[in-house]
Subunit: 377 residues, 2 copies
Amino acid sequence: VTTISWSPAMAEKAGFKHFMQKEIFEQPRALTDTLTGRVKAGSEEIFLPDLGLSEGDLRQAKRMVLLACGTSYHAALVAKFAIEGLARMPAEVDLGSEFRYRDPLVGPGDIVVAISQSGETADTLAAVREARAKGARAVGVCNVLGSTLTRETDGVVYTHAGPEIGVASTKAFTTQLMALYILAIHLGRTRGVLDAGATRRLVDQLVLLPGLVQQTLEREEEVRKVAEAYCQASDFLYLGRGNCFPIALEGALKLKEISYIHAEGYPAGEMKHGPIALIDEKMPVVVLANQTDVLEKVLSNMEEVRARGGKLIAVTEEDNRSAQALADAIITVPNTPPLLAPVTMVTPLQLLAYHVAVLRGTDVDQPRNLAKSVTVE
Amino acid sequence: VTTISWSPAMAEKAGFKHFMQKEIFEQPRALTDTLTGRVKAGSEEIFLPDLGLSEGDLRQAKRMVLLACGTSYHAALVAKFAIEGLARMPAEVDLGSEFRYRDPLVGPGDIVVAISQSGETADTLAAVREARAKGARAVGVCNVLGSTLTRETDGVVYTHAGPEIGVASTKAFTTQLMALYILAIHLGRTRGVLDAGATRRLVDQLVLLPGLVQQTLEREEEVRKVAEAYCQASDFLYLGRGNCFPIALEGALKLKEISYIHAEGYPAGEMKHGPIALIDEKMPVVVLANQTDVLEKVLSNMEEVRARGGKLIAVTEEDNRSAQALADAIITVPNTPPLLAPVTMVTPLQLLAYHVAVLRGTDVDQPRNLAKSVTVE
């Protein structure tokens, strides 16, 4: 007899040690699946047949209101930049658990975009009901076919992440970002902000994104070594600016969720208004330092941390020597258009949280106190 | 010869050990000074002669955009509730350091309210310039006569806090809240949302607020005992909902600034989407549990913390037995109308941070790495 050393659970994990790791590595495929049939390289056409809103609806709308909880809320914060930038349309972001109780100013002319992997997040559903009762239209961004959210909205943009088993969301998040980028480009095109050429260029960038994420994943060993060097820390700070500030929040949330380390995300520009008092050699600071218009400002934040003896982990492109020169540890990401950088920046942060948790011996796929979908209020 | 045991600095501190403590105790007076001449008990008249905007301007405006950094940003977050609630006018809040770089959608029809104690905060000033260049009107909320902010806005609502020496802002914050409440009521009255009776009732509540803060201060010893019990913790979580969520952020910021404890503020409804994984007996959780429409939800958040062995410090009214029954420690505040509760809730959090810092022996008035006004970007 031959003994088979694979358990059924391991088979499901396709050789990976944990579902979370498997799901992180599924991202290039999941991102491609979320693109397929909606956009095509070299074409300005965008297909969102289940959107439930006509081009006239999109043209007449005055405002987008993005509602979500947890990791999906961070996707909403990134989407605000894309929608305002590409469609020049005001976008407000709120937490489901806050929006529903504030007697919100929402009504006809507003399009609510509600984001929930499961489509069953209680606070988000209640917020959507409140907005629709006041006359707003609503679109769901959701990963589960036929979930409550998809039945209680005018239309839906599905993420094609496939089943996500790990409690800490990874591929659901990046596919939400992809779905929201497609929606933002569609909105910009429909509202006449983007011409055919600009739309094609953006679509071409989206099509390249899964490959960039793949390159990020090939650097896992680099990230694992950073995890090894810093996994004993009890506190972390994550700093970002612009559309990478939400990624600082998301990176910190991953570490909180599965390693139980007190990690906090902060807008880099706010550090000197308080958190800098915390900085010493025991508090690693993860800085998202991609090459954008605000890089100089981020570098100056890095210098402030360095001057106080803080340990800097920079997430940055290979050719960004100025950020690398200031850092104690470097995590490399491929060059990515700034609009889409949240996707390539978050992937190594997922891996960082994963490897820190593994090194600390916590239960990665079933972290203490957490449920996969929060279906209670 | 008689030796005088008071140094000139102590004299300036009027017998208090630190400027911060003195300034916390000056709040009833500073709040009264900020009211005086603007509102009067029993009258619906509001005087804001330096506002620089006519009643017509206020009626025609479409949106308020509140811009600030640090503690002033928390005042802006509270003000959003007051403006949207009392004037039914959309209010957006942004950080100076974020707004200025996002190519923001702002222009004619928007009124920017820029909040800065010193009036010299570089990021806030730059954000105001950007908004005015795009056609927005602007009002400053400021504590320093003739500061740059007051010269670069259409008008100003001064806070009459008097000089603030302690680096951690206290009386500047609560007087900003007072100024913003007056502005919100004026806006609601001018735009016809509040009738004379409703305006009078709100004014009467404002007039009572300094007295309520005084009652809070009389409980200093209660707060000091809580500080003594928990000052050894290395991490704190602060939870709030609605207009007390910004107060959770502010309470955490005070503790960060002067005690160097890693304290984080979180919306209570988001705890189950991640931070609850952090909860154990070593992480005290400060919960803002005043009696509002969302009290039931806050109580259920408290039960979740309790179920995971977390230590609960409840800030609540004397007659709120249900919150007290769940708490390990109680900090009492007087009954306050929910709209104004941020002022009475923040005062004991200032005292808590102060006493924790004193017990830990840090330099309260000159915390490491921090400057009083952040005049660099």
